[in-house]
Subunit: 345 residues, 2 copies
């Protein structure tokens, strides 16, 4: 359905999009003509624009205003016309510096990156960490947390730490605990959490026959701890940046919906879902993203990984009118930096 444009059409579309990105106002033929150094007169531009409107790349908010790009127009622009702007050295350095700050856990690193990206881009930044399902266990420890609670600490491949409190099985001594610990650890290391869960359930079946009290307890504890899968986490930074966008300021309804959506992490998760697997930049424009209730919103996102496994995704959420030529390299670079930092954990 993507109609291919001739040179002139493309040039005009590009100028319209870029002007609109800058000003958030409908763009008139005069403006475009000037931008081309009068190579073509406004009248000619008008004809071209009328063509572009017919194909569905531009539209008019009302008769006799300038044109604004449609979703399809933006899409064509992003796919074929976009000139990625180089990141300034300072920006790259800043992003790279995240590495040094992150002596702490991998969580901290991701969070820092998100915050930084949000200030650099002046948009809201979302990071999804999908640790539970893909990461292999590096170690698993049970600690006594109180008289009737046990703390399970899981260290995942590459510095992610998860803990969870579980109710105690009665009558587990510290000595028992150590044994159980060793037993579970043997079983667990190298598996992902869902894999471990399956394995434990299997073992329990077998165990029922040759009844060994200690093993039994170990398995029970293990299955309990993994009953609910550890949730992925979602961090959002820079929500308030949405307010910088003139188009939302005077449409309070939209604003409300957007900010409410930010509180529903599950929705956000779905929004970045498709970016999880691939490391390529994904751009979802306006109505393209299937999440209900977010009109005129674009998402630019990319997955990041740790070694071989996909770890999560990071993305920017802003108006359809985002400065893609700047935002895309930003996200891309950030995802790359993130991957390379996590590599060495």
């Amino acid at each position: 359905m993507t109609a291919v444009l001739d040179d002139r059409g493309a040039r005009v579309l590009r100028l319209v999009v870029e002007d609109y990105i800058e000003t958030a106002e409908p763009v008139g033929s005069r403006t475009i003509s000037k931008k081309m150094n009068q190579a073509l007169s406004p009248a000619t531009i008008r004809n071209i624009m009328a063509d572009l409107e017919e194909i569905g790349y531009l539209c008019q908010p009302h008769t006799s205003a300038g044109r604004i790009p449609t979703g399809a127009g933006f899409r064509y622009y992003v796919n074929y016309l976009l000139a990625r702007r180089q990141l300034a050295r300072s920006e790259r350095d800043l992003l790279r510096k995240v590495a040094e700050e992150g002596v702490a856990g991998a969580d901290e690193v991701v969070r820092h990156a998100s915050r930084l990206l949000s200030t650099l881009s002046r948009h809201a930044c979302v990071v999804v960490v999908s640790r539970s399902s893909h990461q292999a266990l590096r170690s698993l420890s049970l600690l006594r947390a109180s008289t009737d609670r046990i703390l399970l600490v899981a260290v995942l491949q590459g510095g992610w730490v998860q803990h969870r409190l579980i109710e105690d099985e009665p009558g587990i001594t510290t000595y028992d605990l150590e044994k159980i610990n060793a037993y579970l650890n043997d079983m667990a290391v190298g598996l992902t959490l869902p894999q471990l869960r399956v394995k434990i359930l299997n073992e329990m079946q077998k165990e029922k026959a040759r009844y060994d009290s200690l093993m039994h307890k170990a398995l029970l504890l293990g299955s309990k701890a993994l009953a609910e899968s550890l949730p992925g986490e979602v961090y959002i930074e820079g929500r308030a940046n949405i307010l910088e966008q003139p188009e939302f300021v005077d449409d309070v309804q939209k604003l409300k919906r957007i900010l409410h959506t930010f509180e529903e992490k599950s929705v956000i998760l779905r929004l970045l879902d498709s970016a999880l697997e691939s490391d390529a930049i994904q751009v979802s424009i306006g109505s393209e993203n299937t999440v209900e209730g977010l009109p005129d919103i674009s998402v630019v996102s990319s997955g990041y990984h740790q070694g071989e496994t996909a770890m999560g995704s990071i993305g920017l959420i802003g108006p359809i009118r985002m400065d893609y030529s700047r935002v895309i390299p930003l996200v891309e670079y950030t995802a790359r930096v993130l991957s390379s930092i996590l590599e060495h954990r």
Copy 2:
């Protein structure tokens, strides 16, 4: 400076405040007269209102509009005129139910409570958890996280868990680690983290003399882990509720400042600071709160505790025009529930 009001003045002030809370519009003398079943004519009310304005409890946005309460007016209302509304049974039950959901760590409990409180009140809810400084250690464990990193897991009095990754001292075997573990644990249990830090530094002084390599390593690790104090955490739920308030919707400048403030957790921390120590409800009205850049904002907050020690505070942030008669009992009850749940951890 709080002028005491006679009966009639108090009655009128109260009606004005309550009407204004409801409508967010200036209140006229006619309205008040009606609300008193015409016991007094509008003209009389006007005189009384003029008096109230003189004392500084009311003001007019412009000549010949109705009156709105000033900060001082709200303060008088909260201090002397407020009739606390009973919480509905359903609300109390709902809040109490948080207990059951919170099988997980204490963090989860606090977070749940915050979210719930925000939906019940339709305001933004903030919780501060000041775990690090006051809570005594229940256990301290060092785990091998990777070849060059060690994971320190601290379980604090009452179910709070903290972990932190530290760079490894070279040449620590698993066996060493276990010894160090036992050694540190002995030293640590029962102390708060700041206390432990001091103790470790002291020991290091002594240790320098009679050089014992293992102990030395232990102390080094310990001091490293505690170099930065564990930060208190701040959760904010229901930010978007601010948008429900008509007075902010058409003042985008204020809106921006408020939402930006929400992103600065340190400022929020300061905002709830005074509530940390006491379990009594604190109401900070408008310009009373010393935090810059939050005009016309009120904070209703209360500390919560665990056993004897203050654990943090929970509060609602909304327009000066909050429904205090409802909000105050809500916060109070929530803080009580929180304290009682944490008691049994």
